[in-house]
Symmetry: C2
Subunit: 132 residues, 2 copies
């Protein structure tokens, strides 16, 4: 038992084991929008993504884009600090407003979970954006 | 002519017209990898994306991911400060090494040009990554 505690403490101090699940969650949402609602949809999504990033510390990125050659094809890069941060995001008023008001505008939705190929490099990769 | 210059100067001062093309270029590359080469491919891509972000001021992000449920499906979010930065990226030794060594590993490749739905919000969105 003493050995077990010693090992556990050593692992904890090296951040290998932690009380909370701190694995980053990455997703690309692939969304097709009814062309009749495209501008309205984009305005609502913009508001929602801004609120999420501003109000939720666990939302690292909600970065919405659309395909230049096919503007009804929306893609969102979503990065959450933990799965818990994502679960709590789903319960926020701004997400619920987005979800209910855009339901009729969405023709199809695929949520694709991703892994970063170089997780350690993420901060470096995005650092320059801050200087823009 | 005097009116034209006045208007041009007004536009320049508001950043609506600029001497250089400063439009950010955003792309999602969709790449399918031969499963026999997957680990090798990911290692080469990781090296290339790190070098690009480190060595090229115009490379804002080359952020490679793969689908959790289908790991041979690679997606790369690429953000360049200008189209010129992208053209110059294609001529760098690290990109050319990546391109030639991975040619046989790539089963299909789609380059999809994107527009940000909220361009002004990009710095805010990615800011938190720096603190990770």
């Amino acid at each position: 038992m003493k050995h077990f505690l010693t090992i556990l403490l050593a692992l904890l101090s090296h951040g290998i084991v932690s009380a909370q699940n701190t694995t980053i969650m990455i997703r690309i949402s692939e969304i097709e929008i009814d062309p009749n609602y495209l501008e309205e949809y984009k305005a609502i999504l913009q508001k929602e993504s801004q609120a999420s990033v501003r109000l939720e510390p666990g939302v690292i990125s909600i970065y919405p884009m659309y395909q230049k050659d096919n503007p009804t094809q929306v893609r969102i890069l979503e990065i959450y600090a933990t799965r818990e941060a994502y679960e709590s995001h789903l319960k926020t008023p701004h997400f619920l407003t987005y979800k209910t008001t855009t339901l009729k505008m969405v023709k199809s939705l695929k949520l694709i979970d991703m892994e970063a190929i170089d997780p350690g490099n993420m901060p470096t990769i995005f650092r320059k954006l801050q200087d823009k």
